[in-house]
């Protein structure tokens, strides 16, 4: 297991920093770490120029690798995917948000994941063997056809939102119970309590 503490500390992490050509190139070649992919994708969504550049890199990469190059170049692929994602209805506001530490993975980063799926055919991190097949699987199958993108279907797999009060009480009791034990068996008895305090301040998603 390599320790990447040092590298991370020096990596430019701001969302709005310009994308380096090397980063784009690494993205095309699938040489970026997961964390960085998300970041670069977020920046891509804001930076029109970078998006154009990214499409050119892909074309170059395809030509170099001798892949099939389409007769007519679809230069607006990324833009169209973004439009579909933007057109997607927003989640309904709930009366009272869940505790901050309760963050279903399905909600966050879905747009980025779908873009990844669509553009690179990369697998989602969260495809669980245990979960019933989600519409995301269907999305992958249809990717060969550029339009229309069946992104809507994937976006519908939203976490259920049960009644607030009892849920919060239950999750808190789970957390307190778990940390009671974690503080005794873990390496640093303080950490579990620090985690409890830390979760509560995270902004609700």
């Amino acid at each position: 297991m390599a320790d990447k503490t040092a590298e991370l500390a020096s990596a430019p992490l701001a969302d709005d920093a310009p994308i380096a050509a090397s980063q784009l190139s690494a993205l095309v070649d699938d040489e970026l770490a997961d964390m960085e992919i998300n970041l670069v994708l977020r920046r891509l969504s804001r930076d029109h120029e970078a998006r154009d550049r990214w499409e050119r890199y892909h074309l170059i990469s395809d030509v170099i690798q001798g892949h099939h190059v389409p007769a007519a170049l679809d230069t607006d692929f990324a833009a169209r995917i973004r439009q579909v994602i933007e057109a997607e209805p927003l989640p309904q506001p709930v009366a009272k948000p869940l505790p901050a530490w309760y963050k279903p993975v399905t909600g966050f980063g879905l747009a980025a994941s779908v873009v990844l799926l669509a553009l690179f055919g990369l697998k989602l991190n969260q495809t669980d063997a245990l979960q019933p097949a989600t519409p995301l699987a269907a999305t992958t199958a249809n990717l060969a056809t550029p339009t229309p993108l069946p992104i809507q279907a994937a976006a519908l797999t939203r976490p259920v939102t049960p009644a607030r009060e009892p849920v919060e009480a239950r999750l808190t009791s789970y957390l307190v119970n778990h940390n009671g034990y974690a503080s005794m068996s873990g390496v640093n008895g303080v950490l579990p309590y620090v985690r409890m305090v830390g979760y509560q301040s995270q902004p609700d998603r």
Binding site: Y102, D128, V160, S173, N177
Partner: protein, 334 residues
């Protein structure tokens, strides 16, 4: 010719120095073990007060801690958030009182008194079957000289730690939790810490708003201590190597009618909880993977029960445990 001789001599010297180098490996592990033991001692016995920053993913927090030692069971500590909404946790007299923005929970019980069946940090041999201990040199934290040690997992079922320990007493001045790929998930670092001969009792008084009759009002939860479970309908068939069951309790929330079973597994560093609760018409809390800060969770529904596995371990570990849970109603009957 002379030059060649010299070259040979250098080679011989280099070759001669190789075996001692490889022999020094176990010694380094032993040193790291010694430091780990010092740390465990100091976290239980030292009285200290300090300020630290806590980083978890994109979140940064500043917190104040007051800790009074005295050995297992009599340790007391108070944690106060210095940024964002006021949050407070007081652990004293076998009680955990949490003052959190929306909920105020008191967790009473004698779980601190009960001898922990598996205190693996005290059984280094066992710990080292699944983690490798390493000395990583010296550094400076909060203006103090620190010894850096690494606890590296030997497989992908668990997270690793990097610890900066006060060279005078072994107190953890900085800790980094590293995920299965070596990325930091969570970091804690003191910016200032003072060792005290004694700490005033007033420092551990329950937070002001924690009125004793608060249990009845909405938003306040008093979580009673759990009862040990001897007969259960639940079996966890397959655990990742090294994890052992350390407790199996049943607790009932004051606010609800649900009895929840709580099974705890540990490998000496990581703790994983399994919560099992009957769903009476309400939708499940969680299905699939989720991240709770630096912890991973996996939820599933089995025979009308919510099954929730939570722990500071990789997503694959909690998922695997969730997948191996079996429900046999006939086994749970007395």
């Amino acid at each position: 010719m002379k030059r060649r001789l010299l070259y040979c001599a250098v080679l011989a010297l280099a070759a001669g120095s190789l075996p001692p180098l490889s022999r020094s490996q176990p010694a380094a592990a032993e040193n790291a073990r010694h430091w780990l033991e010092r740390m465990l001692d100091s976290t239980q016995t030292l009285n200290y007060e300090g300020t630290f920053i806590y980083v978890q993913g994109p979140h940064v927090e500043a917190m104040r801690i007051v800790h009074s030692g005295g050995g297992p069971g009599s340790e007391r500590q108070r944690l106060v958030s210095l940024s964002g909404p006021l949050r407070e946790i007081v652990v004293a007299n076998n009680q955990v009182v949490c003052l959190l923005p929306k909920t105020q929970a008191t967790f009473g019980g004698d779980y601190r008194r009960s001898p922990f069946p598996l205190s693996i940090p005290r059984e280094p041999g066992r710990l080292e079957r699944h983690y490798e201990l390493q000395m990583l040199g010296e550094d400076r934290v909060a203006g103090l000289d620190a010894q850096v040690i690494a606890i590296k997992p030997r497989d992908a079922w668990r997270f690793g730690y990097r610890l900066w320990l006060d060279r005078r007493n072994g107190l953890a001045l900085r800790s980094v939790l590293l995920d299965e790929r070596g990325y930091p998930v969570e970091q804690l670092m003191f910016t200032d810490v003072q060792i005290k001969p004694q700490i005033d009792d007033a420092a551990f008084a329950a937070p002001e708003t924690a009125a004793p009759d608060a249990g009845s009002s909405v938003g306040n939860a008093r979580i009673p201590p759990g009862e040990p479970v001897t007969q259960s309908a639940w079996r966890v068939e397959q655990l990742p190597e090294g994890f052992t069951q350390v407790s199996h309790n049943r607790f009932t929330e004051a606010s609800g009618h649900h009895a929840t079973e709580h099974i705890v597994f540990a490998d000496g560093l990581a703790t994983i909880s399994v919560f099992l609760e009957r769903l009476e018409g309400e939708p499940p809390l969680l299905q699939g993977s989720s991240q709770l800060g630096s912890m991973n969770a996996f939820g599933t529904v089995i025979d009308g029960h919510q099954v929730l596995v939570v722990g500071e371990a990789p997503a694959a570990t909690v998922q695997r445990i969730a997948a191996s849970i079996q429900y046999r109603p006939e086994a749970g009957k007395p």
